[in-house]
């Protein structure tokens, strides 16, 4: 199992450009999340999904859109990048029951470091 993978690992954008971050998981998890991590701020939830075709806003959703067309993929889009979106972005996935045991463990990807100039 690859677990949770993120593409790309690094990206530099100019203000106003758009891009899509891809998250993929091969654990058949129902739930997927996008977070951003800024120095001294911990992780903040951007958007999340509780199943294929469903998405919901998290703590800091403005400026981002998401889609979950397939269960294994969760895409994060920036339509018009701003310097305030310079951050490290983490994707995570989780399931409620694993091998018959209730679990809420989140599995994280390695992150995407995004710089917006």
């Amino acid at each position: 199992n690859a677990g949770v993978t993120q593409t790309p690992k690094f990206r530099v954008l100019k203000t106003g450009q758009s891009m899509t971050l891809l998250c993929a998981q091969d654990m058949n998890h129902e739930y997927m999340y996008w977070y951003r991590q800024d120095p001294g701020m911990g992780l903040r939830l951007i958007h999340y999904s509780v199943g294929e075709g469903t998405t919901a806003k998290g703590e800091v959703p403005d400026g981002y859109n998401v889609s979950r067309l397939k269960k294994q993929n969760f895409l994060l889009g920036l339509e018009s990048a701003a310097p305030s979106q310079t951050s490290v972005y983490f994707c995570a996935s989780s399931t409620r029951v694993l091998a018959g045991v209730s679990t809420d463990t989140q599995y994280f990807g390695p992150g995407t470091r995004l710089t917006v100039l």
Binding site: V4, Y33, Y35, G40, G42, Y48, D104, T105, Q106, Y107
Partner: protein, 112 residues
């Protein structure tokens, strides 16, 4: 706003010593989890404690939860240089446990 606040923000100890870090949160929770993040990496789950539990152990880790004080502590015993990392608490609210809020983290440095 952040749900969890870790204390201290940074901690430096000698190898073999115990490390204690604390997490406070604001609203009722279903469970609280602790994660470790090595520099430049994603977070790794360490341990989960549910709201009806008071203490939990996993190897050298001991977690306590005091729901009346809305606080939790993580104790790492006999620390090793490899424990050097940032540690985060994450809380899942009672309305939907699939939505987590992370604290600001404690940066632990274990000196060999």
């Amino acid at each position: 706003s952040q749900q969890g606040e870790e204390d201290p923000q940074a901690l430096s100890i000698q190898e073999g010593e115990n490390a204690t870090m604390n997490c406070s949160y604001k609203t009722s929770i279903n469970n609280l989890q602790w994660y470790r993040q090595n520099s430049g990496r994603g977070l790794v789950h360490l341990i989960l404690i549910r709201s009806n539990e008071r203490e939990k152990h996993s190897g050298r880790l001991r977690v306590t939860l005091d729901t009346s004080k809305k606080s939790s502590s993580l104790l790492i015993t006999a620390s090793r240089a490899a424990d050097t990392a940032s540690y985060f608490c994450a809380t899942a609210g009672t309305s939907g446990t699939y939505k987590y809020i992370f604290g600001t983290g404690t940066r632990l440095k274990v000196l060999a």
